[in-house]
């Protein structure tokens, strides 16, 4: 029982990285109606750039954490302004393929710039110790992550529900033409939302570097998990992304612990069950 609970804590911290990626994915889809396949790549870029700035700026983790994701948000700006904007009117398939092209490009660019090797991650000072929880050593850093996740959720909720800018986003998501007619600069709003989504994914990647190796394949793993979260929670729903991420995070840890070979299959079984019972996801809206 104690092991079970302890594993649950481990799973929760894993879930928070997934939540940050899934949140950005869901936000962008909810407003722009574009599913960004390259969202995992933005997570990867967040990790690499944070690591890069960490080295550049005198090994200060927190400084890297601030600058890295902001840099990725800038990349998001370029992606949205110069590429995505050109395909909004086309079929969904072309939008997906466009973002997939960025997956290929980012993957190789990372290899080109930083090489194909795994980067050894640093642990920020102050958070590099462990606590004794349930009789086992639990890294303080994981606890920090478990706090950051809900804080981001709270921040997003506040942003979307309580600020003028957030209400504009929600309005544009539900009716683009109407918002536009009322004087909202929808294209600019789209750019901002894409940047925010990119920033969230990059923050997840940046926060992951002290405990997960930084490698070119890291984006692909997380984007698949984020898709599963989106299907389970309902694409476009932030609440669904949060709950879904926790479900998948826990399932992942328990799976590795109890059925290692078929661990990945568990998430798919859950996804299949949700698809049969509630095809639009736990918190999604029913398709018309």
């Amino acid at each position: 029982m104690r092991t079970f609970l302890f594993q649950g804590l481990v799973g929760l911290s894993e879930a928070m990285y997934l939540w940050m990626v899934a949140a950005g994915l869901s936000l962008i889809f909810g407003v722009l109606r574009v599913l960004n396949f390259a969202h995992g790549s933005l997570y990867m870029l967040g990790a690499y750039l944070t690591f890069y700035f960490f080295g550049l700026l005198g090994h200060n983790f927190w400084l890297g954490l601030v600058i890295g994701p902001v840099f990725v948000a800038g990349i998001g700006l370029l992606m949205e302004r110069f590429f995505l904007r050109l395909v909004y009117r086309l079929e969904v398939a072309y939008q997906l393929l466009l973002t997939f092209a960025f997956v290929l490009i980012f993957n190789d660019l990372v290899k080109l710039i930083w090489g194909p090797i795994y980067q050894a991650p640093p642990m920020p000072p102050g958070l590099d110790s462990s606590l004794s929880i349930l009789g086992q050593a639990y890294p303080l850093y994981n606890l920090f992550i478990i706090l950051v996740g809900p804080l981001i959720a709270l921040g997003l909720w506040f942003l979307l529900e309580k600020t003028r800018w957030g209400r504009l986003i929600v309005a544009s998501a539900s009716d683009r033409e109407m918002a536009s007619a009322l004087g909202v600069n929808v294209p600019r709003l789209y750019t901002w939302v894409f940047m925010l989504g990119a920033w969230l994914a990059a923050l997840g990647g940046a926060l992951s570097i002290p405990i997960r190796p930084v490698s070119p394949g890291m984006g692909e793993i997380i984007i698949i998990e984020a898709f599963i979260v989106a299907v389970i929670g309902g694409l476009g729903s932030l609440k669904g992304a949060f709950i879904g991420a926790i479900l998948i995070g826990l399932l992942h840890v328990y799976g590795v612990f109890y059925v290692p070979v078929f661990e990945m299959a568990l998430a798919f079984i859950l996804m299949a069950v949700v698809l049969i019972l509630r095809p639009w996801g736990l918190f999604g809206t029913r398709e018309a």
């Binding site: 590429f83 997939f100 290929l104 490009i105 692909e220 698949i224 990945m264 698809l275």
Partner: protein
């Protein structure tokens, strides 16, 4: 089909038939890759170009076909046809199961689901070491002889012999798909793509049609994979990767998705392009991504589509 097209087609088949006498083993190998990718892409395009569903996980069936054929040839029988057919059958069964879930959705959800299921197969290929060999891949797959009931047996050791086998299988399969596409079934699929509501109101169960299209599509992807295993003698998890799933997509787009021959032309272009690029740089995916971007932004009808447009303009 117009007479000129028919003559051109016959010429092409004749050239393909005598190819082993004309070119070196290297070019024969390239042609083999084009043939297999053509099958893969044609199957994929039955869903994409004809039914309007973009699958991002077709490598699952391709890889399953390859792994299953490899396992059958290694452990069950040393005869080529049962091995290839068996592997294709396993892939088709997988398409039956995965398709059941995927066709419940369209558009973004469909793509996302196929990708997720595709990566499930990929992770199984990595982790189920006892069966798949893990990251080493499945090695030592024999290029089994072609045995025909009655005692005839053809050795497939020489690549040129195997080439003939693949060529005949590919031509038969293309003929089959051509028949399917031009049947009333194929017309219904195109109707679903254009306006699924109207087709549904006409009393046609569109989900079932999509499902059948999905299974047929998986069959062709599986067949392409099944042909790969004896050629390479090994199958690695990369066969199930989403980059692999994207190859038929790019091939179809390159050639043109709304024409039957598009994916075949696109496959030839894709393989030539890839072979040229990898000779100069290891960053093939970077070039690949940029090409994809350019096609999406500028040449969405593909090469065959552009040619047809050009011809139409010339007529006017």
């Amino acid at each position: 089909m117009k007479p000129y097209t028919l003559i051109g087609l016959c010429l092409l088949i004749v050239v393909l038939m005598v190819l082993p006498l004309l070119v070196s083993r290297f070019y024969l190998y390239i042609t083999l890759q084009v043939l297999m990718l053509s099958l893969f892409a044609l199957g994929f395009n039955l869903l994409f170009g004809y039914t309007g569903l973009l699958s991002f996980g077709h490598a699952a069936f391709y890889a399953t076909g390859a792994y299953a054929t490899g396992l059958i040839l290694k452990n069950v029988t040393n005869s080529l046809i049962p091995g290839v057919l068996g592997g294709t059958l396993v892939a088709t069964l997988l398409a039956l199961i995965i398709g059941f879930f995927c066709v419940r959705h369209t558009d973004v959800y469909f793509s996302m689901l196929t990708l997720a299921f595709g990566m499930m197969v990929y992770s199984l290929a990595w982790k189920w070491r006892d069966v798949t060999g893990g990251d080493d891949g499945l090695i030592g797959i024999p290029r089994a002889p072609l045995q025909i009931p009655g005692g005839l047996s053809f050795s497939m050791k020489a690549v040129s012999n195997y080439y003939y086998f693949v060529l005949i299988v590919t031509l038969l399969a293309i003929l089959l798909l051509y028949t399917i596409v031009n049947s009333s079934f194929g017309l219904v699929l195109q109707g679903i793509r254009e306006n699924s509501n109207r087709v549904e109101f006409a009393g046609i169960p569109i989900k079932r049609y999509r499902w059948i299209a999905f299974v047929i599509s998986g069959f062709f992807a599986g067949l392409a994979g099944a042909l790969l295993a004896p050629l390479e003698n090994t199958v690695a998890p990369a066969a199930a990767d989403w980059t692999k799933s994207s190859e038929p997509i790019l091939a179809s787009l390159l050639g043109g998705i709304h024409t039957f021959a598009g994916p075949i032309v696109g496959s030839a272009l894709f393989i030539l392009l890839k072979e040229t690029v990898v000779r100069h740089t290891e960053y093939w995916l970077l070039v690949y991504g940029i090409i994809l971007l350019l096609i999406l932004l500028g040449l969405r009808g593909g090469v065959v589509g552009a040619l047809i447009q050009f011809k139409a303009k010339a007529k006017r």
